[in-house]
């Protein structure tokens, strides 16, 4: 809201530099965003919060300033001379009829009429005021209605009465498709939700938003009808939004203008009109007001001890009285309400003691309240939060950069990955920023992969990213998204690496996370990796899915990124569920201090035999004293028979109570080799 300092002076005689005025207002809740010099005047741009429509006019701001500085607020003159009848000997209600069809939306309507109006140029003072705050001076009638709007915060609209057909003013809903030409030159097609002011033939104003061009007041105007009204805020807002039309009037109606202010503003207008021109005002007014439009707020008790409890500083009763009275609250002196405070009509935001305590704090100065330390308190540690932090540290330690991608976005390239995590319709945001970006993600990978592409396209040759974030799944019988915390990571690089080796790299990250969470220790051997189905969204033959117990909790594999050369491997885990499985209590386990015996085996097997087939065989053999089986290397090459590969692994044997002899270990290993030959046609490579 643009505010002229000279204008404020009409209401309160301030003798302070403009910077001090701006600071005072800022620290009481009217943030001053800028100060501009305008001739001998200064214009402050003040930020008015949505609960204070009373501050959308100079007088409201002057009232704050007067209270802050302990100065009186000048009275507002409202009187004007009237004539009882027009030259045709008609009363006001014989000149024009007021019909309010929709009281739900038009809570109050006041119309007054002036004759012999010569709407010439405005006097200099009026022009200066209007122009200082950025409005264009048009003619004295229009300028005065704008002046009162910007002074009292009550929108007014003057119609050229001679251009109103049928000598009636009807407030009704628009008919669907009805046309309206606004004063700013724009044309609109209306809807039955729009409230309009009409004469007997057409729409002459969009209620609360803008007047029409056909009844505009200009130099030829001699009779005016001045509207001062109260319209329901929400429908005004909706009409504005639908028609993409805004005005100083709608800005105020949307924020709920003061019901009592309608009449005051109308009278102020005619006071000024009579002061500045020779216009004659017809006595009386046409008015409708909806019953119970405003329920009076019962007077409010303010307990000084409660003021102290909220603010943390005792405020004297004298100061409390000074502040509240200065803002227009009235201390009742009689009956049950004695000592309580009545709320002025323009302060619809105040109805409770706390509202008045805020007023007291604001004017007294929140910056004057002394700091007070809270007592010391300890915070219990959260295991799951710590585990999540340690997982992130692990990801950083393995060379990944933490990323931040959007929670909803487009469908497309990686829908299969999303579907793998959660079959069923994704949740969708109805009005995303871009129309195609409303799909809540079920997987983090698609977002991360598009960042990988961005990096690779920009010439970054090796990209390792990770993110821990929520995904949103649909579960039958649950009427809102099931939110899960996932961890996803990607490794993309320019050079290709042999498939199994690259797979092991990305899988190693997953294994490290499982180790950190000690999943295997908790639910022994129930964490298993199986080849993922072809519709997992990963490249066929590259991907494995993780099962813990019977839950499918992760996937790793390679993807093809359009426009990106080299290889891109990635993985994603349901971190939240894994953390639920995690074993957090550390416990020492006894281990054998006897020397162990290690044997390396290198076998040649058919290509379709998987490592898991080998390890299952080894496990099934139940070898005596076998402590550990470790994969070492996988090799394919010309030296090997076609369709075959060689696999190297080692076995560690250890007894709990004695030193094993080489002979007994060799015997065990021979047994295993024989078993592998028989069961998976393995041949020892020599």
């Amino acid at each position: 809201m643009k505010v002229s300092l000279n204008w404020l002076q009409e209401h309160v005689k301030v003798d302070l530099p403009v910077e001090d005025v701006a600071f005072k207002l800022t620290m009481s809740g009217l943030n001053c965003e800028s100060i501009e010099k305008h001739g001998d005047d200064h214009v402050l741009d003040l930020e008015v919060s949505s609960n204070r429509p009373d501050l959308l006019g100079h007088r409201g701001i002057a009232r704050e300033l007067a209270c802050l500085l302990g100065l009186p607020l000048q009275p507002l003159e409202l009187d004007y001379p009237v004539i009882e009848k027009d030259p045709d000997d008609r009363n006001l209600d014989e000149v024009v009829a007021l019909i309010v069809d929709d009281e739900d939306r038009c809570g109050r309507y006041i119309a007054r009429v002036a004759l012999d109006v010569k709407s010439g140029p405005s006097p200099a003072w009026l022009r200066q005021r209007i122009e200082a705050i950025g409005l264009r001076s048009i003619n004295v009638v229009v300028d005065l209605s704008n002046y009162v709007l910007m002074d009292l915060g009550q929108p007014l609209h003057a119609f050229d009465l001679d251009l109103l057909e049928g000598e009636e003013v009807v407030i009704r809903r628009a008919m669907r498709g009805e046309k309206f030409a606004a004063i700013d030159g724009s044309d609109h097609e209306l809807d039955s939700e729009d409230l309009v002011i009409a004469d007997s033939a057409r729409v002459v104003a969009l209620a609360g938003v803008m007047g029409g061009s056909q009844t505009e007041v200009d130099g030829k105007t001699s009779r005016i009808l001045l509207e001062s009204a109260w319209f329901e805020p929400v429908p005004v807002r909706e009409t504005c939004r639908r028609l993409l039309l805004n005005s100083d009037s709608s800005h105020r109606f949307e924020r709920r203008v003061n019901v009592d202010g309608a009449d005051i503003a109308s009278r102020r207008f005619f006071h000024l009109l009579c002061r500045e021109t020779d216009a004659q005002v017809l006595a009386g007014c046409l008015e409708t007001i909806r019953e119970h439009l405003v329920d009076p707020v019962p007077p409010i008790t303010v307990r000084p001890e409660r003021v102290e409890l909220i603010l943390g500083q005792a405020i004297s009763e004298q100061e409390i009285t000074r502040i509240l009275a200065g803002l227009g609250f009235v201390e009742e002196s009689q009956g049950d309400a004695a000592g309580k405070w009545s709320v002025p009509s323009w302060r619809a935001d105040c109805s409770r003691e706390i509202d008045l305590i805020e007023e007291i704090g604001r004017i007294h100065g929140l910056d004057r309240v002394p700091d007070r330390q809270m007592e010391v308190r300890t915070v219990p540690e959260s295991d799951s939060a710590q585990l999540a932090e340690r997982v992130k540290s692990l990801m950083v330690g393995t060379g990944h950069h933490e990323s931040l991608t959007f929670s909803f976005g487009t469908a497309g390239e990686f829908d299969e990955i999303e579907n793998w995590w959660c079959i069923g319709e994704p949740w969708v945001v109805k009005n995303p920023v871009r129309s195609d970006e409303g799909i809540l993600r079920r997987s983090i990978l698609p977002g991360l992969l598009s960042c990988v592409r961005g990096n690779r396209v920009h010439g970054v040759e090796t990209v390792r990213l990770f993110e821990v974030a929520r995904v949103f799944h649909r579960r039958e019988g649950v009427d809102r998204p099931v939110e899960k915390v996932h961890l996803a990571w990607v490794h993309s690089c320019f050079e290709g690496i042999e498939g199994s080796e690259a797979y092991r790299g990305v899988r190693g990250v997953a294994d490290a996370v499982l180790d950190l969470l000690r999943i295997d220790k908790h639910v022994r051997s129930s964490a298993t990796w199986n080849p993922a189905p072809d519709d997992s969204g990963m490249l066929s033959g590259s991907s494995a899915s993780l099962y813990v117990s019977t839950d499918r909790l992760g996937i790793v594999g390679a993807v093809e990124l359009d426009g990106v050369t080299g290889e891109t491997w990635c993985g994603e885990l349901d971190l939240g569920s894994l953390i639920d499985y995690a074993q957090v209590d550390l416990r020492y386990e006894e281990f054998s201090r006897q020397p162990g015996v290690r044997r390396d085996l290198n076998i040649v097997i058919s290509d379709d035999i998987l490592w898991r087939d080998i390890s299952t065989e080894v496990e099934a053999a139940q070898l005596d004293n076998l402590e550990d089986l470790t994969f070492v290397d996988l090799y394919r090459g010309k030296q090997l028979p076609k369709g075959h590969k060689s696999v190297t692994f080692n076995l560690t044997f250890r007894a709990g109570d004695r030193t094993l002899t080489h002979e007994e270990v060799d015997e065990t290993v021979q047994g295993l080799i024989k078993r592998l030959e028989e069961r998976i046609q393995a041949k020892l490579r020599t």
Binding site: G29, N31, S50, L309, M374, R377, T398, H458, R480
Partner: protein, 335 residues
């Protein structure tokens, strides 16, 4: 005699280990080795008695002798290492390598935390020191937690579908972390002292300072006798620890939020001007009453701080969009 043989083995082991331990140089150690394991050593002496044992006892005795032998051998090699490390003489005999020590180190893959997460973690730590516990709530919320419980009336502009990301009636991406206030108060009776960092969503037009997804850190204290003065001291403590800088100033400027009263903007003067860091205020009695907390007995304060804004200020990042571009050349600067 049989008893004597086992005893001999035991004595031999104890004495040999003692001698190995007290050997102070390599020649002394070698003398011990010859004395025990040599051709004419004491172990051989004991083994010579093997022939005089009953046949059935011989294997056990032999095995026992082997264990002693292995133990002595292990002790000898351990002592060898010990002496070679301790002796300055032998260090002169260390192998020489010929590395080019002016070469740079091998690049170890080093990742990084995201700057928004770095700041968030710091905030959590500082508030943790001030006694605040971390709480959490869903990112998709219902209108009760996002609006009604927070004293935001039905026709309030903040509820407008154009100001929010609605999924369907009564379900939207949360527009503020204040939702967690309601969730916590519903589940836990006062006293409460919590923070809730997380994502929030508003359909703002994206530019250098706006995004439609950003992070807030919400704080809530409910206790007996909590005042606006406590709110001021807490925020001041926090910012002094976050940005230790003599020129830093904090001011709470009166403002309006439906869920706090009195309400204030948190303004921070840092480096070259005032910045709005978030909002705060005393918890509105309607909010407390909406979750069944007696607002006469309990008072409290709440605040919400913008994490991106703090990250941008502390690291000098000019554009909020960099946070979601995830360019490695940007991210790796925070390792």
């Amino acid at each position: 005699m049989n008893q004597g043989s086992s005893k001999d083995l035991e004595t031999l082991e104890i004495e040999a280990l003692k001698a190995i331990e007290s050997a102070t140089d390599a020649p002394a150690l070698e003398a011990v080795r010859i004395g025990v394991l040599g051709k004419k050593g004491s172990l051989k002496d004991v083994l010579r008695t093997l022939g005089s044992l009953p046949v059935e006892e011989r294997p056990a005795f032999g095995a026992r002798a082997n264990v002693v032998k292995e133990k002595v051998e292990a002790a000898l090699s351990e002592a060898k290492v010990r002496l070679s490390v301790a002796s300055p003489k032998s260090s002169n005999k260390k192998r020489r390598l010929s590395a080019d020590v002016t070469l740079p180190g091998t690049e170890v893959p080093r990742g990084s935390r995201h700057p928004v997460q770095l700041v968030s973690s710091r905030m959590i730590r500082i508030f943790g020191n001030l006694g605040f516990e971390v709480a959490d709530g869903p990112e998709v919320e219902d209108e009760w937690h996002n609006f009604t419980g927070l004293n935001i009336p039905v026709d309030h502009i903040a509820r407008d579908p154009a100001e929010n990301f609605y999924l369907q009636d009564d379900l939207l991406m949360r527009s503020q972390t204040s939702t967690v206030q309601i969730r916590v108060m519903e589940g836990t009776p006062p006293p409460l002292r919590i923070i809730a960092p997380g994502k929030v969503f508003r359909p703002d037009t994206v530019d250098a300072t706006h995004s439609y997804m950003f992070h807030q850190l919400e704080g809530l204290v409910v206790d007996e006798g909590i005042t606006f003065g406590h709110l001021k001291a807490t925020l001041l403590d926090f910012f002094q620890q976050l940005l230790p800088d003599e020129g830093m100033k904090l001011r709470l400027r009166p403002s309006f939020f439906p869920f706090t009263e009195p309400s204030a903007e948190v303004d921070l003067f840092w480096r070259d001007g005032w910045m709005e860091m978030g909002g705060c205020g005393m918890v509105d009695p309607n909010v407390l009453e909406s979750v069944g907390i007696d607002s006469e007995r309990w008072t409290g304060f709440a605040f919400g701080l913008g994490i991106e804004r703090i990250a941008m200020a502390s690291y000098g990042i000019p554009d909020i969009r960099y946070f979601t571009d995830n360019d490695v050349r940007f991210l790796q600067q925070f390792s």
